[in-house]
């Protein structure tokens, strides 16, 4: 077994949390159950990984099998990477008959014809997701297994989720291979990025909870409502307002959990509007400003703003349109009004 392969397997196993190593190796299926039983998974990870490497040596593992282990790891822990969403376009109206074997063949052929030194691995999952792992090399160097790009594609959809590596220069090649293999015409990057792959899928596949008005009531989910104080002396002064806020919030955000995004970025290209008497700027040029919201769970925190009394309900549509517009990067320009110079005092 190649030394580089051994080292790669060792490092991959070290990344896995100790309690998960056995189940992940079982999913991998490269080592037999008997072989797995010979490993003591309670020792320190260094030793566990050494044992695994030795067994892989016995089975003569090559880079292809090692790559599969890497895919399995990334599939279980996708949130360690940042994912961007790309959208493909096609003009034809033919019924899509997606043939997986055909797709894989075309993708591999396209990529390998342009770049010989590249490792391509596929793995399909139950939810029709195709995971592609690409390790990039150059015309003169073997593929660098530590600089990998991941692509997740659901058949017959126009969206591709890419976690690119540091080598951005290979992106056009990757995009071209995807477009050709999936029978689309072109591809563009959307303004949507996050660590949570599943949330990105929820947003573009419209799987998140949207509150649709319907006569057929769906069962309301049990919510932990703090028991109201039964003391008659305590009166809720703002009960009406509170209820209005709850209602408006539900209309906007729906009942279910929100997709998980970590940030939203607003790039302002608008003119600074000040009291004309206090003319702050000499030159009337756009005030360049970037506003970025960070949160472990941005949409849930936006949902909690109005009930917490921090913001008025309804919230600005710039914040609430994020899942529907499927973007978290915005450019805000001047509204083209009737009087462009309206900030100047009359």
């Amino acid at each position: 077994m190649d030394e580089t392969v051994a080292e790669y397997i060792r490092r991959t196993v070290l990344k896995i949390p100790r309690d998960e190593i056995k189940s992940m190796l079982q999913k991998w299926g490269f080592l037999s159950e008997k072989q797995l039983q010979t490993i003591n998974f309670h020792q320190i990870k260094e030793n566990v990984s050494q044992d695994v490497v030795q067994l892989c040596e016995a089975n003569s593992a090559d880079i292809k099998q090692a790559a599969v282990l890497d895919i399995i790891y990334n599939h279980i822990y996708p949130n360690k990477r940042v994912w961007s969403v790309y959208q493909m376009n096609k003009t034809g109206e033919e019924t899509e008959i997606f043939d997986l074997t055909d797709f894989k063949k075309k993708f591999k052929r396209q990529l390998q014809s342009a770049l010989k030194n590249v490792t391509i691995s596929f793995r399909e999952y139950e939810d029709n997701a195709i995971w592609i792992r690409i390790a990039w090399g150059t015309p003169y160097k073997k593929p660098n297994q530590y600089k990998t790009s991941y692509v997740v594609y659901h058949s017959q959809t126009p969206y591709v989720f890419i976690s690119a590596s540091v080598l951005k220069s290979n992106l056009p090649l990757l995009c071209q291979a995807l477009v050709l293999a999936s029978n689309y015409h072109d591809i563009r990057e959307m303004e949507l990025r996050s660590h949570s792959l599943n949330s990105l899928k929820d947003i573009v596949f419209k799987r998140y909870s949207q509150n649709f008005q319907t006569y057929h009531p769906r069962p309301l989910q049990e919510r932990n409502v703090a028991p109201e104080s039964t003391d008659v002396r305590i009166i809720q002064e703002n009960r009406n307002e509170k209820e209005r806020i709850q209602r408006v919030n539900r209309e906007v955000f729906g009942d279910g959990p929100q997709p998980k995004l970590e940030f939203a970025q607003y790039k302002l290209e608008t003119m600074f509007k000040s009291d004309p008497k206090m003319d702050v700027l000499d030159k009337k040029e756009p005030f360049r400003c970037l506003v970025k919201f960070y949160s472990p769970h941005l949409l849930e925190s936006l949902k909690a703003l109005a009930p917490a009394g921090i913001a008025d309900a309804p919230l600005s549509p710039l914040l609430t349109c994020i899942p529907q517009k499927a973007r978290n990067y915005f450019k805000i320009r001047e509204k083209k009004g009737l009087f462009p110079g309206s900030f100047v005092s009359p």
Partner: protein, 310 residues
């Protein structure tokens, strides 16, 4: 393997059992030549007779059912006439002693309200069960398309439309691989009924195909060898399977293509045998190919796995 591509426009009633009535000349030969030929001929005649008996029984059952239903219709007509007569009597003010409550109790306002609410809920439930229901919103209308396959209710999908300045889709929960934009382009502005009908057909067919594939994986996993290759729309399934749980030596490969997205049965079926299979399996493969085109996937598996057991 030998690929047996059976053409799609094969109409008429074809049975699942291949009739060995190919060439009469062959039968003559068998009869004249050896006792084995005679036995085979007798078997074939027996099979034919059995089939004819089964068909006869079916026809008889149908006739019985029809007679029963006709009798029921008669009964209901008599009942209706009786009730109509009673209503007429009441209207004329001639109350007889039979069948009329002597002290009709005036229903309270609360009772009436409760009855109205119950009645409206039932109507809305009926609308929902028909598969397409809607509710007017402030700026348009929100449709709910609920899908079902052979008696099992499956997912519901929502579509919110705005009506001004023109009819357009505001938001929806239709899966991305359903060609919604195309349908909207073709029908939304001109004929909303057709639009909803086409969309409902697509969604129902999709959940039907998905249901069949899921049922197959759930109940017949021992017969499937390797993975079942499918895609998001469930319109192409490729897999290997064993005809029976016992003989696993010559699995079939099947490629089911559902060319019509509004249909939950395949338009093209290719069943091929592994190389080296006995020639008798070729007939079975052809029979299966035909069966898959007519019958739901999981039901087809049920029928030939139960045929095996007999």
């Amino acid at each position: 393997g030998r690929a047996l591509a059976v053409p799609t426009d094969r109409g008429g009633l074809t049975s699942a059992f291949p009739l060995a009535g190919g060439s009469p000349g062959k039968m003559e030969e068998g009869k004249a030549c050896s006792p084995d030929g005679v036995l085979a001929h007798l078997e074939m005649l027996e099979a034919r007779a059995h089939e004819a008996a089964v068909k006869q029984e079916e026809v008889e059952q149908q006739e019985q059912k029809l007679a029963r239903l006709k009798a029921r219709v008669q009964e209901l007509r008599v009942q209706r006439d009786e009730l109509q007569a009673k209503v007429d009597l009441q209207e004329k003010g001639q109350l007889g002693k039979e069948g009329v409550v002597s002290n009709p109790v005036q229903p309270s306002a609360r009772d009436v309200l409760e009855w109205k609410i119950k009645s409206i809920k039932a109507t809305l439930q009926i609308f929902y069960l028909t598969g397409i229901s809607g509710k007017l919103t402030k700026r348009g209308v929100c449709f709910c398309i609920s899908t079902a396959y052979e008696g099992t209710y499956l997912d519901s999908y929502y579509l919110e439309l705005l009506t001004k300045p023109e009819v357009r889709i505001h938001r929806h929960s239709v899966p991305i691989f359903i060609p919604l934009e195309q349908m909207a382009k073709n029908y939304l502005q001109t004929d909303i009924r057709s639009f909803l009908s086409v969309l409902s057909d697509h969604l129902n067919a999709y959940v039907g195909r998905r249901y069949q594939a899921d049922q197959l994986q759930e109940h017949f996993s021992e017969q499937i060898e390797g993975t079942l290759q499918r895609n998001s729309l469930c319109n192409l399934l490729v897999f290997n399977y064993n005809v029976s749980k016992k003989s696993k030596s010559f699995p079939f490969n099947v490629r089911l293509l559902y060319g019509d997205l509004c249909c939950s049965l395949p338009t093209e079926v290719i069943v091929s045998c592994t190389p080296g299979s006995p020639t008798s399996l070729a007939e079975t493969a052809a029979a299966h190919s035909d069966l898959f085109r007519r019958v739901a996937l999981h039901k087809a598996f049920l029928s030939f796995s139960s045929a095996e057991e007999n």
